[in-house]
Symmetry: C2
Subunit: 575 residues, 2 copies
C-alpha cells in the first residue's frame, strides 16, 4: 500500500530550477514512486491533484508556501525521502565559476561595468522592481519573467524609451543580440536578416528555418507578447525596427507578432515603410492588406516568413532597390493633403480602405473598417475619406450610382472645391446594367474640377479605376480615353490605383512620420555582449557556454517573500 507524505515550508523561496531538481532527486530515491514540488498556488494544487499528490495538508498551503509531496512504497520510504530535502536542495545549488556573488544589482554593475544587459527571470511579482533598478543603472533589460502586470510593462517601457534603453519583455523568451542568445535561443548562423518579434517561439522558428536555408541573422529582438497592444503601443517593436533600419548589416527585416492592435499595427507598418529595406511581415492570423505594399511583404506562416526573407536578402542589392520610384508631389498648394474617394462599388471601396491603411493613418468612410473612422455625416468628408455611394443610405428611392452619376458628380465638385483636397479616387464600373456612358458624364466634371483647382493655384489629382472588358457595351477603349483626356489617371484595379496614390499621399503629408522613441544607440547591437543575470542560473550558464561575460546576482525576494513585510518596507521607502 503506497504512502503519501507532504511537507509545507511557509514562505520559503527557491528558484524554480532548484524545485525541479529537488522533485527529480526525490523521485529517484529508493522506494519513491512519485514526487511533487511546487509553490502552493491553486494552479499547482490542481496539477498535484491530477497526479494524485495533493495531501490534505498541501491543500491548505498558501501561494507563498513551498509544497513538497512524496508518494512512496511505504511510509518509511516517504519519511526518509522528506528527511533528505535540505541536503538535496543544497546539492541543487549550481557550481558556476563565480567566487563572489553580489547580493544586489548595484554591486553587480560595479563588478562588471561593461555589462550593458540585465537578464531578469525572478518570479513575476518581483520582476518589475528588478527591471526598474536595472533601468536606473542605465542597463538594457531582457525581462524573461511572466506574470508581470500590464501597467508595470507600460511604465517600464516608457521609462526605458525616454532613456534610449530597451526592455525586451516581460514574458520575452528569446533574443539574439550581436550573435549572443539571451533566454531561449538557438545557435543561428550570422547573416543579413534581422528580426523583431512579439512572438518568442515564432522568433525561434523563423531564425532556425533561416539557418536551415543556409542564410543567417544579424540580430533578433524580442519584445514580449503584449508589446503590440494598444496599452503598450509597440514601444519595443518600434525601437527594434528603428535599430534594424539603421543597422547597415541588416539587409532584410522580419517583423513577427500574434494579431496586434489594428491601430498599433498601422503605425508600425508605416514606420516599417520608412526602413529603406524589405520588411517581411507575419502578423500571425491578422489579415494582411495585400501581398506587397512597397517594401512591405506580407506572409501568412512562419515558414513562409523565413523563406521569403532569405529570398529577398539574396536578391542583388538587398535594400535600396526597395524604394519605390518617388511620386512627383510638385504643384500642390500648401494645405492640400487629403484624398477623397467616391465609389459606386462597395467591394472596391472596401479594398481601397484596406490598401490605404498601408500609407495613411486614418481613412474615414460611411462604411469604415472600424467604427472609430465612421463619417459623422455621409454627405460631408473629413480628412482622408472614402465614400461608398452604393450604400443603402444613398439608394432609397434613388438609382444605384453605377446607373446614376448625378450624385457623384455633385460630390466631385464639392470635394474639388475643398482647398484641403489633393486627390480624388473614383471607380467607373462598365458592363450590362450600368450607365451606358459613365465617362461621358464623369469626364467633363473631372476636367472642370481640375480646371477650377488650377485657377485657384491648386493641383487636383484624379485617379479612376475602370472595371470593364473590351466586349462591354460601353466600349472600354473610348471610356478610358475620355477619362484620360479629362486629365484622370486610369488604372484597372484598386490595388494599382492605391499603389500610385498611396506614395503620393505620403509625399504630401510629411507629418505622417511616426513618433519615434529616443533612438537606441546602435552600439547596443555591435558592442560585445556582457550580462548581469538575476534569476534562473541556467541562463547564466547558457551565456557562459557562449563565452559571454556574465555575473550572477544572489537574488532573494525582499523580506524573504513575506508579503506583509514587503508592503511595510515599500512604505518605509516612501514609494
Amino acid at each position: 500500500m503506497a504512502a503519501l507524505r507532504s511537507e509545507i515550508r511557509v514562505g520559503a523561496y527557491h528558484d524554480s530550477l532548484s524545485l525541479l531538481e529537488l522533485q527529480l532527486a526525490l523521485s529517484n530515491l529508493p522506494g519513491v514512486l512519485d514526487a511533487g514540488v511546487a509553490m502552493g498556488t491553486d494552479a499547482n494544487k490542481d496539477i498535484l491533484a491530477q497526479s494524485h499528490l495533493l495531501t490534505p495538508e498541501a491543500r491548505t498551503a498558501a501561494p507563498d508556501d513551498l509544497v513538497i509531496v512524496v508518494r512512496a512504497e511505504d511510509d518509511a520510504a516517504a519519511q526518509a525521502a522528506l528527511c533528505q530535502v535540505d541536503e538535496l536542495l543544497a546539492r541543487s545549488r549550481r557550481d558556476m565559476e563565480q567566487d563572489y556573488r553580489p547580493k544586489s544589482l548595484e554591486s553587480a554593475a560595479k563588478m562588471m561595468p561593461d555589462a550593458q544587459w540585465v537578464l531578469v527571470s525572478v518570479p513575476g511579482r518581483y520582476a518589475a522592481e528588478v527591471a526598474r533598478q536595472a533601468l536606473r543603472l542605465g542597463k538594457h533589460v531582457f525581462l524573461y519573467s511572466d506574470n508581470v502586470t500590464l501597467s508595470d510593462e507600460v511604465s517600464l517601457k516608457q521609462t526605458a524609451a525616454a532613456k534610449g534603453l530597451l526592455v525586451m519583455g516581460p514574458d520575452c523568451g528569446t533574443a539574439i543580440v550581436n550573435g549572443v542568445g539571451l533566454g531561449f535561443a538557438n545557435r543561428v548562423r550570422r547573416g543579413p536578416i534581422g528580426l523583431v518579434a512579439a512572438a518568442g517561439t515564432g522568433l525561434q522558428q523563423v531564425s532556425t528555418c533561416i539557418h536551415q536555408l543556409g542564410s543567417g541573422i544579424t540580430h533578433a529582438i524580442g519584445t514580449g507578447g503584449r508589446d503590440l497592444s494598444d496599452a503598450v503601443g509597440a514601444v519595443t517593436a518600434r525601437q527594434g525596427l528603428d535599430l534594424l533600419s539603421r543597422d547597415p548589416d541588416t539587409r532584410v527585416i522580419v517583423l513577427l507578432s500574434k494579431p496586434p492592435s489594428p491601430s498599433v499595427a498601422r503605425e508600425l507598418l508605416r514606420m516599417a515603410q520608412d526602413a529603406d529595406k524589405p520588411v517581411v511581415v507575419d502578423f500571425i492570423g491578422y489579415g494582411p492588406p495585400a501581398r506587397r505594399v512597397g517594401n512591405l511583404h506580407f506572409v501568412s506562416t512562419l515558414d513562409e516568413a523565413a523563406r521569403l526573407a532569405v529570398e529577398l536578402s539574396a536578391e542583388a542589392g538587398g535594400g535600396g532597390s526597395e524604394r519605390q520610384t518617388e511620386p512627383e508631389p510638385a504643384g500642390f498648394a500648401p494645405g492640400q493633403c487629403y484624398l477623397r474617394g467616391l465609389f459606386s462599388g462597395g467591394t472596391l471601396a472596401y479594398e481601397a480602405l484596406l490598401l490605404l491603411q498601408g500609407y495613411v493613418p486614418a481613412v474615414y468612410s460611411n462604411a469604415p473598417l472600424s467604427e472609430e473612422y465612421r463619417l459623422a455625416d455621409s454627405l460631408i468628408s473629413q480628412g482622408h475619406t472614402i465614400v461608398d455611394l452604393g450604400e443603402d443610405e444613398f439608394t432609397v428611392g434613388r438609382l444605384h450610382p453605377m446607373m446614376d452619376n448625378d450624385l457623384r458628380i455633385r460630390r466631385l465638385r464639392q470635394e474639388a472645391a475643398d482647398p484641403e483636397v489633393a486627390a480624388i479616387l473614383l471607380d467607373v464600373v462598365l458592363g450590362f446594367g450600368a450607365h451606358p456612358d459613365p465617362a461621358g458624364q464623369l469626364a467633363p466634371a473631372i476636367a472642370e474640377a481640375r480646371a477650377r483647382a488650377q485657377e485657384a493655384g491648386r493641383r487636383m489629382e484624379v485617379v479612376a479605376i475602370v472595371v470593364g472588358t473590351d466586349e462591354d457595351p460601353q466600349d472600354l477603349g473610348t471610356q478610358v480615353l475620355r477619362l484620360e483626356q479629362a486629365g484622370a489617371r486610369v488604372e484597372t484595379s484598386t490595388d494599382a490605383a492605391v499603389q500610385y496614390i498611396g506614395p503620393l499621399l505620403q509625399a504630401i503629408n510629411p507629418n505622417l512620420a511616426t513618433s519615434r522613441p529616443v533612438s537606441v544607440d546602435l552600439s547596443v547591437l555591435h558592442r560585445p555582449v556582457a550580462v548581469i543575470n538575476v534569476g534562473l542560473e541556467s541562463f547564466a550558464e547558457s551565456l557562459a557556454a557562449q563565452d559571454v561575460p556574465v555575473i550572477q546576482v544572489e537574488w532573494r525576494p525582499p523580506a524573504g517573500g513575506n508579503e506583509r513585510l514587503m508592503a511595510i518596507l515599500e512604505k518605509m521607502k516612501g514609494k
Copy 2:
C-alpha cells in the same frame, strides 16, 4: 434672382430610373439651373439641401411622397418646368418591344414558362414579398433590391434552399449564369473559372481581370453581401460552391467575400476542401490561415485572385491533381478521433490553432482563437485540444516547459490513455536556455504511450515539431533520431506538421462532412437563361441586348404604396 419651386406628390410611385430621367429632363428645360427629383426620405432631403434644392414645402414631405424641385432663372421658368412634369414622366416610359405587360408574376410565368429566373429590383420594402412569390412559382431569384431586412433574407434563403432554388441577394449587384449577365455584369469571355462572390464589384473586378488576362469564366454566382454572416449561414455561397464543384466545365473556383463570420468561413472552407478542384479564396481583409491549405489558395487582393485563378486553370489537368495524397487512416480503433497538442511554445501553439482551422471544426485551447473554444479546465482536454503549457497559469513557481518536461510527460500519458485520442502533437524547442536533452526525456514517454495504446488495440500517432539548428548545444541530429526511434514523426515547422496531421484527422473524422442544402440542379447553369423582370426596366433592356428572352412585369406597389391600406390588405389575406 434665381427662383426655387417645388411640388410634392403624395404617395406617388415611379421607378427610380424614371425619376432620374425626369430630373435630367427638367434640368435641360430652358431657364432651368438645377433640378432635384427624389422620394422624401430624410437622406434624400439632406442631399437636396446640399444642392440648395430643399424648399420649406419639400422639408415636410413624407418618405412615400415624391419631391420635385426646380431652381430656375426666374419664377416663370420654374413654374413652366413644373407644368411639364406629367408629360416628361409619360415620355420617360421606355418603349421596350413588349406588347402586353403582365401585371403579376403569375401571369408573367404563364406567358414565359421557360423563364427559370426572376430578377427583382423593386424598392426594398416590397422586394421580399415579390421574391417569395417567385419562389412559390419555383423560380430562382436574383434579388437586386437593397434595404431588405435580414430576417426576410434568412427566411427567403431557407425556403429556397429547401426547394433546391437559388436566391442571389438581396443587394446582389451582379451574376453571370451560362454566359448571361444579370444586374450589373461585364461581358466576359467564357472559360474555365467559376466565381462565388459575396462582393458585387469584387466579382466584376475579378471577372474583368480574368478576361484581360486572356482567360474566361464559366459562371459567377452572387450571394449578396450578408450571405456569409452568422444569421444567414452562407446558404447561397454553399449552394454556389456545390454547383461549381459539380460543374464539369469549372476547373478552378474563386471564392470572394468581405470578412465573413469566422465560423461560417470555417464551414465554407471545409466544404471548399471537398471540391476536388483548386479554390482561390479572397476573404478581403480576413487573415488567411496560410497561403495554401490543400486545394485552397489564399490571396489578399482581387487582382491577385484573378491572376492566381488564371495560373491554376492553365496548369495541366486543372482539377484532380489537387487532391492531396490521402493519409493512411488504418489502425485506429473505433472512437479514436481527436488530436491533442501539448506545446511549450505559445506562438507555435497559436499557429497550429490557425492552421488546423482548415481541417477540423473546433479546436479547444487554454489560449484559443476565440473565447467559445476556451477549455473549461486547462488540465483537462476536450475534443481536439491544443494546450499551451507555457501560459502564465502553468508557470507560477514552476519552470517553463522548455526547461521542465515533467508536466508535459504527465499530460502525454494522460492523453495517450484517452481512448478517443488518435494523435498527439508536440513541439521540441532546442537551443541555449532550453532543456539540455528534451528528446532524452520525451522519447521514452512517447515510446511508452505508443506501446500502451498498441496493447489496447489503438494506434497513437505522435508528431513532433523540432525547432533547432545543427549548431545548437543539444545536437539536432541526435534529438531527431531519438524522437523518430520512439515512433514520432518529426517535422521542422508547424505548417508541415499540420499539413500531415490535418488530412489524417479529416480521414478519421468522416462526420466532418458539412451539411449541404438540397442540391440545386446543375441544369440551372446549363439551360439557356430566360428571365422575368420586376423593377428596373433597364435590366430587362440589358438582358434583351444579350439576346435573352425577358418579360417585364408592370409592377406597382400594393395599394399604390399607401402604407395603411397595405397593412389592411395584408390582414385581409390572412397573413
